[in-house]
Subunit: 184 residues, 2 copies
Amino acid sequence: MAESTPEGDTPPTYRAAEIAAAWRRERPQTPTDSIEIVTPIWQLAKLFADDRGRVLRAAGIDAATLDLLSVIRRSGPPYTLSTREIARRTLVTAGAISQRVARAEQQGLVRRAPGGAAPRTVLVSLTPEGHALIERSVDQVLGREATLVEGLSQPERATLSALLDKLLTDLQRRCPPPGSPAQP
Amino acid sequence: MAESTPEGDTPPTYRAAEIAAAWRRERPQTPTDSIEIVTPIWQLAKLFADDRGRVLRAAGIDAATLDLLSVIRRSGPPYTLSTREIARRTLVTAGAISQRVARAEQQGLVRRAPGGAAPRTVLVSLTPEGHALIERSVDQVLGREATLVEGLSQPERATLSALLDKLLTDLQRRCPPPGSPAQP
DNA sequence: TCAGCTATATTTAGCGCTAAATATTACCAT
DNA sequence: ATGGTAATATTTAGCGCTAAATATAGCTGA
């Protein structure tokens, strides 16, 4: 056996190519076509999320709050969005949004007010404190991420993002649309 | 009105390109370079995870258990791995592995036994029931995922996976290695 | 007019994860 | 021998999310 139990060496992490090869060795009929796409996507998502978490901890804000303030901030003046619209744009459950808004309101970062078209619409607005916090956080987060993707050349990044977008579009056509994270 | 709030139309989901454009409109100095890479990665990760969740619910197994049984199964005979090694390969906290193993043991899918090289090593093995469950689940999951990536041609998939791997390698060199999901 | 219907927001129970604290074992140098 | 140290596993507290149940406001048609 190569490297399983008593752990000879300890490679830094586990590679998609190894996973696919292991399945083909163990079960030759296994359909491994997707592994080298899906696995690195999950690994990258986790790496980006963890790294962002570290940046945000230093900035005194958590990822959920950043997500909330960001979507309101970048919607432009008057920095107000309905709960429903926030849920649509962040692709997180409406119940989760309720909780995020409650926490942020507790910290004085947003304000809730009834009003709007639909029946029970609640509008969420940035307070001056919330606006200030997002202004000083967003460049830190996006600046850090910009350095993280520097390992790819500009043409490589363009190719990558085009392929990701194509795959995403195709999948959204074929899967029910429950939820998904977002960008500040 | 179409179907949302005051908000005019309701596109199926929120696009990375729109997010980047919104930030540039609102704050021209914002570094948006990473958005069209990071955002689709998170959206895709969520889509794949949700879709897998639906497949697994039908198969009577959850994602965490699939992850555990998979890593043991594809390590080959004797289908035994130490807790430590499982944690390394799935890139999830050792505490989480303890809990996953406890749950799976409760269901009769794995067995725990002391032994192995290091001090307090615990070896986790598949029971016949666990082996049978993973055998009949893995092809369903990977087969489904294979159809999901069909929207990309073979060369496109190769390019995509090469770029993802390059980015991942580069990031692993630059970020601390806390944790990340895995593939069955 | 008014009874229901629809659309939205909130609450609640439960889940799995992380981080930190704790427990346990083997080894090793004195 | 023996006390200490390193390595590992488990437990625990807390967190944020999801799904489902609940509450509420406006609309609509008989």
